[in-house]
């Protein structure tokens, strides 16, 4: 399973980087989103994958049973997803306004003749 996730992360990073290097601003924003997803999956995988081991401390014990899933990466990812959502929403609106003002979505075409 780790292998499949590692492969997915690699594909996401590759696609994200490729899109970031394109000239169309829409693709660039999609590339950013993919990079964010890749980072999130990376944290998830780095927290080690454990099936069906909820990290709940049984009554009377002082530590969760081994092996149990590490809940912290999931909390981190949740935070990162929320932040990423806000930032991507902002990037999309900014993109829309910029394309309207500049009259193009070509990043190379967005020179500053207007200023």
């Amino acid at each position: 399973m780790t292998f499949v996730l590692a492969l997915t992360i690699g594909v996401l990073y590759a696609t994200g980087t490729y899109l970031l290097l394109r000239r169309g601003a829409v693709r660039v924003v999609f590339g950013l989103a993919l990079l964010g997803y890749a980072a999130n999956l990376l944290i998830f995988t780095a927290g080690r994958l454990v099936r069906e081991g909820p990290p709940i401390v049984p009554a009377g014990a002082f530590a969760p049973p081994v092996p149990s899933a590490d809940p912290l990466p999931q909390a981190l990812i949740l935070t990162a997803i929320v932040i990423g959502f806000g930032v991507q929403a902002f990037a999309l609106v900014l993109l829309k306004r910029t394309c309207q003002e500049a009259g193009t979505d070509d990043v190379d075409g967005m020179r500053e003749e207007g200023s």
């Binding site: 964010g36 990376l42 780095a46 912290l72 902002f90 306004r97 910029t98 003002e101 967005m110 500053e112």
Partner: protein
């Protein structure tokens, strides 16, 4: 819960909320904004006075013991950074009274300034890597809005570049934090530093260190990933640009210093030469970029890049004197750079333009402004007895002592070229006679209120620059103390983890 550590976060937050609530009453909002900036200055002053004797203040939020909760930590370096951040915020808020238009004020200018400072202070004070990511995002999010607020075309295209590269940096930072958690199971910086000692210095820790280096390097606008800065910093109104120029890149430098001295300090054979190369190339590309520009704002933007190189140089050399030089340089530079952007704002107001081709004759029209430009400009270039001279002196001397002749030569040459750039602005904007179609001829003279609001903060920051220059010994002793703390991570670790982090 130590209130001193929490106040620099709470005061800006409370001010931001107050200014949002007062958004219909611009005068009251302005007053609240200024009161908040003054409050932050006071809070940071208390924090500094509590840490200046070498105490490392620590608070575990929610009373969760480290490494399970989020630690807030203030050593000398962090406390001093919070103080300068508060100084710059106060100067910018005062400048904004006449330096920002009513439309921007109505659409959340003041709340954003304070949320931005909260993010900056949080990044300085946190002792947890994931929390650092969150503070970075708080800071970035408000800076995104500030940079595009107003919606002019140049602003928007600049903002897009700014947003994209900073988000790439955040994604890399997040990946680095994930990999670090995967290898040591903690994100508390002190705890991670202890846990990394059990791992070999090379291998995965080096990969993670490189990820952080790239991520913070983008934020600090270091070579080769600085292009977003000159593409965007000249577009927002000058008070915003001054705040960005003073603080945001320096947060990246601070994070680099923190992470490389505390967490990834075990493989200097790998990181030091890398940082030195980046430092040298950053200095050279920045200063060469500045020489080609004729817009005051762009000249200043490129000089931010080249100055970042000096700060990294101290980190790369890595001796106690060099780190003291870096601390000194960062503190001096924040004041000088923010001031130069504010001066550019006044120049635009008085001279009617940012373009060196169209400006002229400002020496006659406003001798006070000319003097206020000369102080930070000469300090930036490193002319004694101003603050920049001592900062460069420390770095050059530490470089020579450690046998890094090449980087010292680069630093000296770049400083000469900086002087060239500054004299270019001086000669074109202030000294040469006003051009035939003088855009400044139609600008009304500064009113009394404008003088107080625009020139007041500029002169105050000039006074700080001169004071640092004349009392360099005091700041040097402080910077030396900060460097001693940075070089002995066990102090930090013991302060955060208590007895657990004891021996190394």
């Amino acid at each position: 819960m130590n209130l001193l550590l929490v106040l620099p976060l709470l005061v800006p937050l409370a001010t931001a909320i107050a200014t949002i609530l007062l958004s219909r009453a611009p005068r009251a909002a302005r007053a609240a904004s200024f009161a908040g900036a003054a409050g932050l200055l006071a809070a940071s002053g208390f924090l500094l006075s509590a840490t200046i004797d070498g105490t490392i203040l620590v608070t575990q939020s929610g009373s969760w013991p480290a490494p399970f909760g989020i630690s807030l930590v203030a050593d000398r370096f962090a406390a001093a950074m919070v103080v300068v951040a508060a100084v710059i915020l106060a100067a910018v808020v005062a400048f904004s009274a006449a330096g920002i238009d009513a439309a921007r004020e109505r659409f959340g200018y003041h709340p954003l300034l304070h949320v931005l400072s909260m993010g900056v202070c949080g990044a300085f004070l946190t002792g947890d890597l994931f929390n650092l990511y969150v503070w970075f995002e708080v800071m970035l999010m408000s800076s995104f809005v500030l940079v595009s607020l107003g919606g002019e075309r140049a602003q928007l295209t600049g903002a897009l570049k700014y947003v994209v590269l900073n988000l790439v940096s955040s994604a890399l930072f997040l990946a680095g934090a994930g990999l670090l958690y995967g290898s040591v199971g903690t994100l508390n910086m002190a705890d991670a530093a202890v846990a990394l000692r059990a791992l070999p210095a090379q291998g995965l820790p080096s990969v993670v260190a490189t990820l952080f280096l790239v991520a913070f390097g983008i934020k600090a606008a270091a070579f080769p990933l600085f292009f977003w800065l000159p593409a965007s910093y000249h577009t927002p109104p000058m008070p915003v640009a001054a705040l960005f120029a003073g603080l945001l890149t320096k947060v990246g430098v601070y994070a680099l210093v923190r992470v490389l001295t505390l967490v990834f300090n075990r493989d200097p054979g790998f990181t030091s030469p890398l940082v030195l190369w980046i430092a040298g190339l950053t200095m050279v590309t920045g200063v060469l970029g500045a020489m080609a520009q004729t817009d005051v704002r762009k000249v200043l933007s490129f000089h931010i890049v080249s100055q970042i190189g000096y700060m990294l140089m101290g980190l790369g050399v890595g001796t106690r004197l060099a780190l003291a030089g870096t601390v000194f340089y960062v503190l001096h530079h924040i004041v000088v750079k923010a001031n130069l952007f504010l001066v550019a704002g006044v120049t635009r107001r008085v001279g009617g333009s940012f373009s060196l081709d169209r400006l002229g004759g400002l020496l006659g029209r406003s001798p006070l402004l000319a003097a206020a430009f000369l102080v930070p400009a000469l300090s930036l270039a490193g002319i004694p007895p101003l603050s920049g001279f001592w900062a460069k002196y420390l770095l050059v001397r530490s470089g020579l002592e450690a046998g890094h002749g090449a980087i010292v030569a680069v630093a000296l040459a770049v400083s000469l070229l900086t002087l060239f750039s500054m004299t270019k602005i001086w000669a074109e904007a202030f000294w040469k006679p006003a051009p035939a179609h003088d855009p400044g001829a139609s600008t009304p003279p500064l009113s009394v209120a404008e003088r107080a609001s625009l020139l007041g903060p500029v002169l105050a920051l000039c006074a700080i620059t001169v004071a640092i220059g004349l009392g360099a010994g005091v700041l040097f002793r402080f910077a030396d103390g900060a460097a001693t703390q940075l070089l002995d991570p066990d102090l930090y670790i013991r302060a955060v983890l208590g007895t657990r982090g004891g021996g190394s």
